[in-house]
């Protein structure tokens, strides 16, 4: 258990356009109640949303740190417009807190100063990780579609270089980003004229096939999985393979309770089966998946042969 207690549970950046009030309440609870070690803050998906809650960031950061959490600021995944370039460059100038970079424009601005590499940065392999480490990366979040054997090799290589290694274990997977806003498109608008309609869907806008099968979720310019990734049963193997940080992505469910279940399973205070049952009860009808991890179609749920 000693190794498991070293494992950090992290909370990824909120992918959706939650209101400033909702964010304040959310992070207040996380700060006070959630057994989470590290929290990533900031807008990663759409630069238009940032002004709604930017002013709250210092207070949120302070609140989380007071709650004993390490805070990391995440950068935009897509950088194209002037305001996006500026936001990325400004973030790269911060001496503290730590930053997580999600676009090569951020790597350029950061130079050799220490930083974390985010999941949009495509650190697929040991060669890319070694390169990034040589330029100041201290930590890498692996791409969500990487299968177990590659996670093993990547994690070992990163650990040997002294890097932290992170894998998403809960929440919808990011499947694509685009220059076009699909939330705006669904409402016959364009990105420049979106009127922030994405705010209506705090857990993403569901897309269904013509024969009424749930398939994807739209979150502004991002396309996500319909299913929630759930690697709770796979945590033992992830840790054995060298992963040091397990990321929970904020969904519109009780994230404090979700974090509690992962932590209890990690610490051996609950069996994986019991924690899984708890998770199922928290997440309503949402499908769980682990296909990417097992090298299968991402939406699939592969029965876990080896209990953790």
């Amino acid at each position: 258990m000693a190794v498991r207690e070293m494992i950090k549970l992290t909370l990824g950046p909120i992918a959706y356009h939650w209101s400033a009030e909702r964010r304040r309440d959310f992070y207040a609870r996380i700060a006070d109640e959630a057994p989470i070690d590290e929290v990533y803050l900031g807008e990663v998906i759409c630069s238009k949303r940032a002004p709604f809650f930017e002013a709250d960031l210092p207070a949120t950061l302070e609140r989380l740190e007071r709650g004993g959490k390490t805070v990391i600021l995440s950068s935009l995944a897509e950088v194209m417009l002037k305001r996006e370039r500026k936001a990325t460059a400004d973030l790269a100038e911060l001496a503290s807190p730590e930053i997580e970079i999600n676009n090569a424009a951020g790597l350029y601005a950061r130079g050799d100063r220490p930083h974390r590499v985010g999941p949009f940065m495509n650190a697929y392999n040991e060669a890319a990780i070694a390169w990034m480490a040589s330029r100041g990366a201290t930590h890498v979040c692996l791409p969500g579609e990487l299968p177990a054997p590659s996670i093993d090799v990547a994690a070992q290589a990163a650990r040997a270089l002294g890097l932290g290694v992170e894998v998403q274990v809960f929440g919808r997977a990011s499947l694509a980003v685009s220059a076009r806003c699909y939330h705006a498109r669904a409402h016959h608008r364009t990105k420049d004229n979106c009127q922030f309609v994405c705010e209506e869907d705090p857990d993403g806008m569901p897309l269904r096939t013509s024969d009424d099968r749930p398939i994807l979720r739209v979150n502004g310019i991002q396309t996500q999985s319909e299913s929630y990734i759930d690697l709770l049963p796979e945590m033992g193997r992830l840790i054995a393979d060298g992963v040091t940080h397990l990321r929970l992505m904020p969904q519109a469910v009780d994230m404090v309770a979700v974090a509690g279940l992962y932590r209890e399973a990690l610490d051996g205070r609950q069996t994986v089966a019991a924690a899984e049952e708890g998770l199922r009860a928290l997440c309503g009808n949402v499908a769980f998946s682990n296909g990417f991890y097992h090298g299968a179609a991402g939406y699939r749920r592969i029965a876990n042969a080896v209990p953790a």
Binding site: Y124, N125, A127, A176, A179, K191, D192
Partner: protein, 332 residues
């Protein structure tokens, strides 16, 4: 004025010869494995075929660009390194890369050979492009299909390398190199396996009312009336329903292809060095038609003559066309 090179698809040795004969300044191709983003059955080159192709192209003054533009999953990096070594030995003129590990390896091991940054690297700002130029000596960036012409013109002023843009063919909707839609439904990855909506997972189902649905890995991607021509089930060109769109709509984009022929003069004026025609999966006759027409158009524009684009419109086989993001921000 820029050179306005024409970069043409070569899915097979025969297509390569066809493109070169039709006036390609350069052809791009890949090996028969996951090292390139068009890893489709029946496409691409063996090392022997590539050797012959390089000889053929060079004899006619055309360059050969080798696409190594996928992301090696950890544990499999050697396949990409070997492909680079083979390409170097066979005398290719440039490598098209996306992964930083692959770029770093080539920059160190084959410093004499040009590196082009693939669209799969998704470098869409001057800073991102400069990152690759300064760290790996990248000589040309293939821009994502998400920028307007004024934006391209501005980027041109702020980067130390050449610009290549797509002008014709498939119209990618998502940021390339950041899309795992195919892997989500099929278990095959665009980034790691070079596969997008693979034919092996495609099925068409005919229904009692005469309608037809196109499916990918069992998911219905689109539905067509008895009179309609059924399209290929590409996930980002599918028809879905959403709470505000109960009747179904093309949530991302209609089945449509990119045709920037009308914008060619403007793009040349904006300083674009090279124009890429998509379609390594297309037939020899398609390649001949498109390359011939674009060759003439580029030559006309460069000579100050009015260019006739009618031939290019005919090539789209009745498919809908778009100028995508290039014409206006409203596309977004």
């Amino acid at each position: 004025m820029s050179l306005a090179e024409l970069i043409c698809p070569a899915g097979t040795p025969a297509a390569l010869r066809t493109a070169v004969d039709a006036g390609a300044d350069a052809v791009y191709c890949g090996f028969q494995d996951a090292t390139n983003a068009r890893n489709f059955p029946g496409l691409n080159f063996t090392p022997e075929e590539l050797a012959e192709a390089v000889a053929y192209a060079h004899a006619k003054g055309a360059k050969v660009l080798l696409a190594l533009n996928t992301y090696p999953p950890a544990g499999k990096v050697d396949l990409w390194r070997q492909a680079a070594d083979t390409g170097a030995r066979l005398g290719v003129d440039a490598f098209i890369v996306a992964d930083m590990g692959v770029a770093d390896y080539i920059a160190r091991t084959h410093p004499g050979i040009r590196l082009h940054l693939s669209v799969q690297a998704a470098a869409s700002s001057p800073e991102a492009i400069r990152y690759y130029c300064e760290n790996f000596g990248v000589k040309r960036v293939v821009l994502p299909r998400i920028l307007t012409i004024p934006e391209i013109r501005q980027i041109r002023k702020e980067i130390p390398c050449e610009i290549e843009t797509f002008i014709f063919g498939n119209h990618g909707l998502m940021v390339e190199g950041r899309c795992s839609l195919t892997n989500y439904l099929t278990g095959q990855s665009t980034n790691m396996d070079g596969v997008c909506s693979p034919a092996s997972d495609v099925e068409y189902a005919r229904h009692a009312d005469g309608s037809m649905s196109s499916q990918l890995a069992g998911f219905t991607i689109d539905c067509f009336g008895a009179e309609e021509k059924a399209g290929y089930p590409t996930i980002c060109k599918g028809r879905y329903t959403a709470p505000h769109r109960p009747k179904g709509y093309y949530a991302f984009e209609e089945p449509i292809s990119l045709n920037l022929s009308q914008l060619l003069p403007e793009l040349i004026d904006a300083g674009v060095h090279a124009f890429k025609i998509e379609g390594r999966q297309r037939s020899k006759s398609y390649v001949r038609g498109v390359v011939t027409a674009f060759r003439k158009a580029v030559d006309d524009i460069r000579a100050g003559r009015p260019a006739n684009m009618a031939d290019l419109v005919a090539l789209t086989e009745g498919q809908k066309q778009t100028q995508g993001a290039f014409e206006t921000k409203k596309w977004r």
